[in-house]
């Protein structure tokens, strides 16, 4: 059955490496270029820098980059916590109960997704302004959480659908109330599902440009996608700093993925019921 020779395996690996390198070329170029100054970059004939320089990274400390970074983290984490908490509760209800109200809610989740967020921007601006929420992370946290909600509620719901009902029924008989059964049995088994929904919610909020560009106008309030535009002027672009900023901006996402990878493993509920 298994006919793979070492040669075959190695050549397959090499082929895979080429494909991965090709697909990730923009990222590789970005990281490599972040280690040379804009001048070197424009003069260079090679992708690999002749001299590795940390000049660009050092330069970032002179800019509000780290302020943006902090804002981005606050906004993304805030939006993720709010939307995932709501999505987990909503998704659980949709997965386990059936009635008219929930039917209406689940339909409206779809309906809401039909409207692009741009339609709501001006009304939102008019609402947020008197409340003093312009240039305040709270405004985008609210918008991101709401925009995220329909999709991640459905994600959470489909994950809960995979957790056998008998486990909760056993808990009900063992002495739990419905809420206790959810907290003690369902939630501890939902790690992979919550991790997946969280990543989705975080990435959306972390990368979002359009809404943030409208509501966050001052340097103190800007998030990274809006902020790093400062390296692109009308007549010139500081490529070196831009590449360094983009490389640093990518790091939290990378770390997040590596961290949650182990949670997104199959088999969290293995063994509980006959499969």
């Amino acid at each position: 059955m298994n006919e793979t020779t070492p040669l075959k395996r190695w050549s397959l690996s090499a082929l895979m490496l080429v494909i991965v390198a090709f697909l990730n070329m923009p990222i590789i170029l970005m990281v490599l270029n972040s280690f040379q100054t804009t001048e070197q970059m424009l003069l260079s004939r090679s992708v690999i820098p002749a001299v590795f320089s940390l000049e660009n990274y050092r330069g970032l400390t002179q800019t509000p980059f780290f302020q943006y970074f902090q804002n981005s983290v606050i906004v993304s984490l805030g939006a993720t916590v709010v939307s995932v908490s709501a999505a987990v509760l909503g998704g659980y209800a949709l997965s386990r109960y059936r009635n008219g109200l929930l039917q209406g809610y689940s339909t409206s989740l779809f309906a809401v997704q039909m409207f692009p967020v741009i339609l709501a921007l001006i009304p939102l601006f008019l609402i947020f302004q008197p409340l003093g929420l312009i240039n305040n992370p709270l405004s985008v946290i609210i918008v991101y959480a709401v925009v995220n909600l329909p999709f991640i509620t459905w994600m959470a719901r489909s994950y809960f659908d995979t957790i056998p009902r008998e486990l909760e029924e056993a808990a009900l008989i063992d002495g739990c109330g419905p809420i206790e059964a959810f907290l003690r049995i369902v939630l501890p088994l939902s790690g992979p599902g919550i991790a997946a929904t969280s990543i989705f919610a975080f990435l959306f909020s972390y990368n979002e440009f359009f809404v943030a560009n409208v509501f966050l106008r001052t340097t103190n309030a800007m998030t990274l996608p809006v902020g790093i535009r400062m390296f692109m002027d009308q007549f010139s672009t500081d490529w070196g700093s831009l590449m360094a900023a983009a490389t640093l901006m990518m790091l939290p996402t990378l770390v997040l993925f590596m961290f949650v990878q182990k949670f997104i493993a199959h088999g969290a509920v293995a063994g509980g019921v006959k499969g």
Binding site: P164, E166, L167, E169, A170, A171, L172, I173, D174, G175, C176, G177, E180, I185, P188, L189, G267, A268, V269, A270, G271, G272, V273, K274
Partner: protein, 355 residues
């Protein structure tokens, strides 16, 4: 320990009625098995006893107390699920201790109860494992352990053996029966396997189409089925049913013309009846024996301890079960004589007994 009383209990899902008024009384310490084909409402009834399904009509009492609207946790019951339903994120010990922990019992009491149950079920070695590290039979035992630890008023079993292989099923069958003899707790057990029901129950409740067909001890159901459904459901291989009429006192003639003498059978109805004969109530006799009829051997199935033989008699098929080793082969003509005093008569229209 407690009694369980189910009176005119009904269940509907919208317009669809799945239980049409069920009456069952389970005595304290009794082992009652609900048996019936898929979709007969037996599992729904069990889940209603557990409180996992609401009761549309009627009254359910556990130990004289009406439980219709009580939450599962307030009914003092324990349930073993078909799928085991072990908590995957807890060890065997934690699974078994869960209910006692919720009741805030002292640590020492919990440990003692878990250790005792583990000892009864031979799980002591496995207490630190998680469910996914266990085999099917071990998981089944943990599920039972979780129920035992509770010391509940009533045990509920929902087809607990249907996921096990045949050999393990037979072994667990006697383990459950032994457990009942040891604990003497009231048990309500659901299965679609009539062999399980026959071997384990004090009393069997045969259900069909959301109704109770008959309630009684296993052998009573086997010997005196109230109707055609019970007669054909209980027993393996099933009862032979021959269509025909009673042409005179003690004379049954099948529609295909075979005459079978049943002198002990007082018929209350004469036409359109079914004669019921258990496979083991046939014997092979020599030609010319009074009351015998001839037939052809179609198939023989020896199992070692007994031999099953299918016969063709005119247009009817009969199954016989014999303890002795028979020297017959397919195609042979043999003479059969029924133990006519064991024959039963059914009304073909209503399905009820007609003797």
């Amino acid at each position: 320990m407690a009694s369980l009383s189910i009176q005119s209990v009904k269940k509907s899902y919208g317009a669809l009625q799945v239980l049409h008024g069920v009456d069952i009384d389970v005595k304290d310490g009794e082992f009652v098995i609900l048996v019936g084909p898929s979709g007969c409402g037996k599992s729904t009834l069990l889940r209603m006893i557990a409180g996992l399904e609401s009761i549309t009509g009627g009254t359910m009492r556990i130990d004289q107390k009406v439980v219709n609207n009580l939450a599962p946790k307030d009914r003092d019951i324990a349930m073993v699920f078909q799928s085991y339903a072990l908590y995957p994120h807890m060890t065997v010990a934690e699974n078994m201790a869960f209910s006692l922990k919720l009741k805030r019992k002292p640590r020492s009491e919990i440990d003692a109860a878990v250790n005792k149950a583990a000892e009864i079920l031979a799980l002591t070695e496995l207490l630190d494992r998680t469910p996914k590290q266990l085999s099917g039979g071990q998981r089944q035992r943990v599920a039972m352990g979780r129920a035992i630890v509770r010391d509940p008023a009533v045990f509920l079993f929902d087809e607990p053996l249907s996921n096990l292989d045949a050999k393990l099923r037979v072994q667990m069958r006697s383990e459950i029966k032994e457990l009942h003899q040891r604990l003497r707790t009231t048990i309500v057990y659901v299965t679609h396997d009539q062999v399980e029901a026959m071997t384990m129950a004090d009393r069997i409740v045969v259900m069909n189409g959301g109704k109770v067909e008959q309630i009684g001890p296993p052998l009573e159901l086997y010997d005196k089925p109230a109707n055609l459904f019970v007669a054909s459901f209980i027993g393996s291989p099933g009862m032979n049913l021959i269509k025909g009429s009673m042409t005179g006192p003690g004379v049954f003639v099948s529609d295909t013309g075979t005459r079978i003498d049943v002198p002990h059978l007082p018929a209350t109805r004469h036409h359109n009846v079914l004669l019921g004969l258990r496979p083991e109530h046939l014997e092979i006799v020599t030609s010319g024996t009074p009351g015998s009829f001839s037939g052809k051997v179609a198939v023989t199935e020896p199992t070692g301890s007994e031999t099953q033989v299918n016969f063709r008699i005119a247009g009817d098929e009969l199954v016989g079960m014999f303890h002795e080793r028979l020297q017959v082969s397919p195609g042979d003509t043999v003479h059969l004589k029924p133990f006519s005093n064991r024959a039963l008569l059914f009304d073909a229209e209503t399905g009820n007994r007609a003797d």
